[in-house]
């Protein structure tokens, strides 16, 4: 960029010498935005953190998907009964629970993009958690992305094993998405 500025400057000096100064909008000085970015402006409390009083001391949670039962291969222990999540909590991981809480809050206040982002973050931690896929399907439904809603719900069903309640909720999303698409 400095090269072009320098070049422009020289040309301009020559033109100015002929008394033709001033109208030089063609030169590359014109740019768009103020340059200095403000990183310091961003210091609100992290929304994803839950209040400390909900916890008692340091929580050590087994990483989901590493339990003894789940380490058996399908051949050794058929037929596998799915990565069952208890209906009480959508995950054993505090990190995932915190993200789901955050996504829920964002979703309730209408920040659907932020809710989806939090759910995608949760999926990076537990990619095979059917409940998270269901919640993402639900957000897409609310965003009017019916095709995605149906596909994500199908994905959730695929991971839901014999969690019939979750399967039914997903089927409801698919039905609604299809209805909207038919309209």
């Amino acid at each position: 960029m400095m090269n072009s500025v320098r070049h422009c400057g020289k040309t301009a000096v020559w033109l100015a010498g002929l008394g033709l100064a001033l109208q030089l909008s063609g030169c590359s000085f014109a740019q768009v935005r103020a340059p200095v970015q403000d990183r310091s402006a961003a210091e609100p409390p992290a929304a994803a953190k839950r209040a400390p009083e909900e916890e008692s001391g340091v929580v050590i949670t087994p990483y989901p998907g590493r339990s003894v039962q789940e380490q058996r291969t399908p051949e050794q222990a058929p037929p596998p009964a799915a990565d069952q999540q208890s209906t009480a909590s959508p995950s054993n991981s505090n990190a995932v629970v915190a993200l789901l809480d955050n996504a829920g809050a964002q979703g309730r206040s209408g920040n659907l993009d932020s809710a989806a982002a939090a759910l995608e973050r949760a999926l990076r931690i537990e990619p095979r958690n059917a409940e998270i896929w269901y919640r993402l399907a639900d957000i897409r439904l609310r965003q009017g992305q019916y095709d995605q809603a149906a596909n994500l719900a199908a994905k959730s069903i695929n991971l839901a094993g014999n969690n019939t309640d979750l399967i039914e909720r997903n089927k409801a999303i698919i039905r609604q998405a299809r209805q909207h698409q038919a309209q």
Binding site: L22, R33, E75, N158
Partner: protein, 766 residues
């Protein structure tokens, strides 16, 4: 021109030439100053600099239970330039005590939220993060996101690189050092400093040459910002006018801030390092606000000559100059003599290798740029200072690079391949969300030329077979894993071509082979028969649904992989298998923010169900058998026993291409080895690419493959002799998954094992 000169001749004849010239002269000078004024203000108030887009790696997420080793956290903190510190008093510092880390994170603004700076204590047990808490108040922390490592920028051909800083975030000590050394009367002059000029003139006259500059900071800015570096009187005059104009229009602080961002402080190939914000990363690998006195002094000494005092090439010279700067600071009472002395004892502290400008990961950046170019103009990418949050996992990337380059060198020796001829490529993705974690474009991962991962189109050989078998398994009335296929000599007539007699890799025929075993052992003959039964066009249709966007002619030879795909295309197809039949476009970008941190665009997760989950489940079962008992069984010696994976070897005619594509419960990885000149290498998929694949997966924290059986999958106990269903207590029988309605009929009593018969089922568990 002729018209003008004739007019002035006319005027001269009228008898007032002198006045005319004088007025014209005044007009020119006034016009020129007005022009300079316009230039100065336009540039100073507009966007001053073209800022390259800055690309970040994925941020590391820390949480109790994370599959992360202490070594991996240490590597991440090193990437981020966190400094070991006994006092642990500022962001970007850490302490490690065996399996326990304490560190203070940096605040960082992400797409969704701003992460505050946090004092974190992290405790590991083996290769797992087991506890995470705030070490100041002991409160547990559910989830901590570290700041992301910058991995490169997107530049025009010749470029300036800078990280903009605001005056208020620049440590005062740096500013004081700069003023003390370069222009100690900065706050007292109006752009030019007659006292300094006089002094400079005097010493220049005595020396008979220009040896000393009397330039103020404002003049230096004027020179750098608006003018070329020639030392001519004309340039000096312009510089002085511009300096006065700058001081007339703007405050001292505004000028100082521009100076701090403009000044040239180093060169890295075609990349010029401008401003203290960038120089801080370039020399010390850390942000400016984490540096201390000796580092400030070193950077200030570079103002006089960034290449002459280059601390990497002329360490002694740089050290001397830095200490001189410290002396001047002490003499100007910016620091005490004691502080100067202490700082002078400090080493230069420069990181050995400058962070790569364009990127240390050219193959990944290539993919990222191609994806960005769908949505952004090249000009915006190189000038708007966009912040791009990528999906790259630097640790997996380095594992993949290391695995490829060291195995390739070893295989060259082992298979007598001319040194330097064996090439390769590798990709690693997240198996469920399609995020690309690593791309290696060749054995020299730093080389940014031919990107084999994206651009090498090679025959895929047996990597096509899952598409053949998936097409069949999607028809449960006709095919199950237990269907017997005939492995006997057969000849097909290519339409309008020569007859085609497929051969097995081992040049033998194996009689009647169950479908799952034919895939696990990669037998060509039964695969070709099966493919012709289901139809070549249908197999190509399956390939398309798996994610290959190009079309191929429906020749029978397609069934054995006579089509050319890139490693990236292969990755896309295996991604669809790994995620249970859901196609997920490979993504290298998560979010794009403006230079100011405003959200611009999010590349969201988007999936398409391409297949019914049940046949994909059956296929994956057979692909696991490839590893447990088939062509990839040598992998077992490379991986821990509990790490179940699935995959497929690929070998092409005369051993020109060696492939392995496979997935764990969390990652998809594809490796290709071969020669750029397409000559044979002597490597099969199992002896070549599979080794690299095993190295990559072993070094990566990944989860075993666990699939959830879809609702319409039933397990049945099958007699390996009769391939019929038998009673549950049959000792020699095995459990095999079937799609509901396709379970073989029950045959009653257990069959006995006939001697000499190959037991295709037993070997699954070898």
């Amino acid at each position: 021109m002729p018209r003008k000169s004739s007019r002035s001749r006319t005027r001269r004849r009228r008898g007032a030439p002198f006045i005319t010239l004088f007025v014209l002269g005044l007009f020119i000078i006034a016009g020129y100053v007005a022009y300079l004024d316009h230039t100065v203000r336009t540039q100073f108030e507009g966007k001053r600099w073209a800022l390259p887009a800055r690309v970040y790696a994925r941020p590391l997420e820390l949480f109790a239970g994370a599959p992360l080793s202490p070594a991996q956290l240490a590597a991440e903190l090193a990437d981020l330039g966190y400094a070991p510190s006994p006092r642990l008093d500022s962001p970007g510092t850490f302490q490690r005590n065996a399996d326990e880390f304490r560190f203070i994170t940096r605040a960082f603004r992400f797409w969704d939220t701003a992460e505050p700076s946090l004092p974190v204590r992290a405790v590991f047990e083996q290769d797992k993060l087991v506890a995470l808490e705030n070490f100041k108040n002991g409160a547990p922390l559910d989830l901590v996101r570290l700041d992301p490592a910058p991995i490169g920028g997107i530049y025009p051909a010749h470029n300036e690189d800078r990280v903009l800083v605001q005056l208020k975030e620049v440590p005062p000590l740096l500013v004081q050092a700069l003023i003390a050394v370069e222009d100690h009367r900065y706050y007292d002059h109006h752009g030019i400093d007659p006292i300094s000029i006089a002094r400079a003139l005097w010493s220049n006259m005595r020396a008979g040459a220009t040896v000393q500059g009397g330039s103020t900071l404002t003049q230096q800015l004027a020179k750098n910002f608006y003018l070329n570096p020639d030392r001519t009187l004309w340039r000096k005059t312009n510089e002085a006018i511009i300096a006065l104009l700058l001081e007339y229009h703007y405050s001292k602080d505004e000028i100082l801030e521009a100076y701090l961002n403009e000044i040239f402080l180093g060169q890295d190939g075609q990349r010029a390092i401008h401003g203290f914000g960038m120089a801080s990363y370039f020399y010390f690998g850390r942000p400016l606000n984490e540096l201390k006195l000796p580092q400030f002094a070193l950077m200030v000494s570079l103002v006089r000559g960034a290449s002459y005092y280059d601390p990497r090439r002329h360490a002694q010279r740089a050290l001397t100059q830095r200490n001189r700067v410290l002396d001047v600071m002490a003499a100007n009472k910016v620091i005490s003599a004691q502080q100067a002395k202490e700082a002078q004892r400090a080493p230069l502290g420069v990181i050995a290798k400058a962070p790569h400008g364009a990127s240390s990961y050219p193959a990944f950046m290539d993919l990222l740029r191609r994806q960005l170019q769908r949505d952004y103009k090249e000009e915006d990418l190189t000038s708007e200072g966009l912040q791009i949050f990528s999906t790259l996992d630097p640790q997996i990337q380095r594992n993949a690079e290391r695995a490829l380059s060291s195995r390739v060198a070893q295989l060259e020796k082992q298979f007598a391949i001319p040194t330097g001829r064996l090439e390769g490529a590798a990709l690693v993705t997240n198996s469920e969300n399609g995020e690309v974690l690593a791309v290696v474009g060749g054995r020299d991962a730093r080389y940014s030329g031919f990107n084999r991962a994206l651009d090498a189109q090679r025959h895929i050989g047996s990597l096509i077979k899952p598409a053949v078998y998936l097409t069949a398994l999607a028809m449960p009335q006709r095919y199950t894993l237990a269907t017997l296929l005939q492995d006997e000599p057969v000849t097909f007539q290519n339409p309008g071509g020569q007859p085609w007699t497929p051969q097995n890799y081992d040049r033998q025929y194996h009689g009647a082979v169950p479908l799952h075993a034919a895939l696990a052992h990669s037998y060509n003959v039964p695969t070709a028969r099966l493919g012709l039964d289901v139809g070549v066009a249908n197999v190509l249709g399956t390939l398309k649904k798996l994610g290959v966007e190009r079309d191929f002619p429906a020749y029978p030879s397609v069934l054995l992989g006579a089509i050319e795909l890139t490693p990236a295309e292969v990755t896309q197809t295996y991604q669809t298998l790994a995620s249970g039949g859901f196609r997920v476009p490979l993504r290298a970008i998560r979010e794009v923010l403006t230079a100011k941190g405003e959200p611009l665009q999010r590349y969201e997760l988007s999936i398409t169900q391409a297949f019914d989950p049940a046949p994909v489940f059956l296929l994956t079962n057979a692909l696991q058998e490839v590893v447990s008992a088939g062509t990839a069984r040598s992998l077992k010696s490379q991986l821990p026993a509990q790490l179940t994976v699935a995959g497929k070897t690929g070998t092409t005619d005369d051993l020109r291409d060696s492939w392995f594509a496979g997935f764990s419960g969390q990652h998809v990885a594809v490796v290709w080895l071969g020669r750029d000149d397409n000559k044979p290498t002597g490597l099969s998929g199992a002896t070549g690419a599979l080794k690299v694949w095993g190295d990559i997966i072993r070094a990566t924290a990944t989860q075993p493959l666990q699939r959830t059986a879809p609702g319409n999958i039933e397990y049945a106990r099958i007699d390996p002799q009769t391939l019929r269903r038998v009673a549950a207590d049959c000792r020699d029988a095995v459990d095999l998954p079937f799609i509901s309605g396709s379970v073989p009929p029950e045959s009653g009593p257990c069959a006995s094992q006939a001697p000499g018969q190959v037991d295709w089922f037993r070997e699954i568990f070898r």
